[in-house]
Assembly symmetry: C2
Homo-oligomer: 130 residues x 2
DNA sequence: CAGAATATATCGGCTGCCGATATATATCGC
DNA sequence: GCGATATATATCGGCAGCCGATATATTCTG
């Protein structure tokens, strides 16, 4: 799943929204950090629809403007949930390894044992994702 | 930052590694879920080097095979840390909104108040990333 | 001796993101 | 009234990046 697709699904996770609303919502929920572009949106919407992760919920005409609302399917919710899980796991793995790196390398101010040997603690700290 | 770049940085976070070692390490640290391809690796390595996030640590010849070791720069560590933070925040936002969606829509079996109003708790739960 | 693993690297194709552009209506300030 | 901005849709071409295929070379295993 691409980053753009992830944020579209996230924007739709609490309620159905229309295209322009998704744009604004992604910016708001990411605290302005992620800006989903108009040129990106419709391709993502088409792909997610084709993949069965979202569906066209309804079309409304509000104040003379057409609004096309999309919502998550059950499959879409499951996919978003799984992706969030993967991201959290990846983030956790990175954090743990950064900590392991800080503990392993700079803890030794100058020369010590043989040459380039790792400190005994390092391998076990790495751990997996699950 | 691309996904591939994130995993390369993560693989290098605890200690310097060579290209083929990064490939194996990414697969291992992700519990087999992420498979970084050979055709992807060297482009990523070049870009990360150009961006100053990694540097060539040393070159060794072990058992007749050349090994080119890379390591994270301070900037690389900071970038990886920031990206991990963003991913964790994104994952958290998705999880919260999924929960809000489940609470908002299917919790009401049939018609109730006005029309399409959200339950009072919903807006506050959405929250930002930071 | 053949095949797999280790280790490097390149290239073409395809996917996907983005900026620009187009169209249309409503609103706001001047 | 008129231009600028906001709302709302959509398309297209360029560019970046991932992947499969391919190439080369050595070591290890069967």
């Amino acid at each position: 799943m691409t980053r753009a697709a992830f944020f579209v699904l996230t924007a739709l996770a609490d309620q159905p929204r229309h295209g322009y609303g998704i744009l604004r919502e992604v910016e708001e929920l990411s605290d302005g950090e992620v800006q989903l572009r108009v040129g990106t949106l419709y391709g993502v919407l088409d792909r997610l629809t084709a993949d069965g992760l979202i569906v066209l919920d309804r079309e409304e005409v509000q104040q003379g403007r057409l609004r096309r609302y999309y919502r998550l399917t059950d499959e879409g919710v499951a996919a978003l949930d799984a992706e969030a899980e993967r991201m959290a796991a990846g983030a956790g793995a990175a954090k743990r390894r950064i900590a392991a790196g800080r503990a392993g390398a700079p803890a030794r101010p100058a020369g010590e044992g043989p040459a380039g040997l790792l400190p005994p603690a390092a391998p076990g700290l790495a751990g997996g994702l699950a």
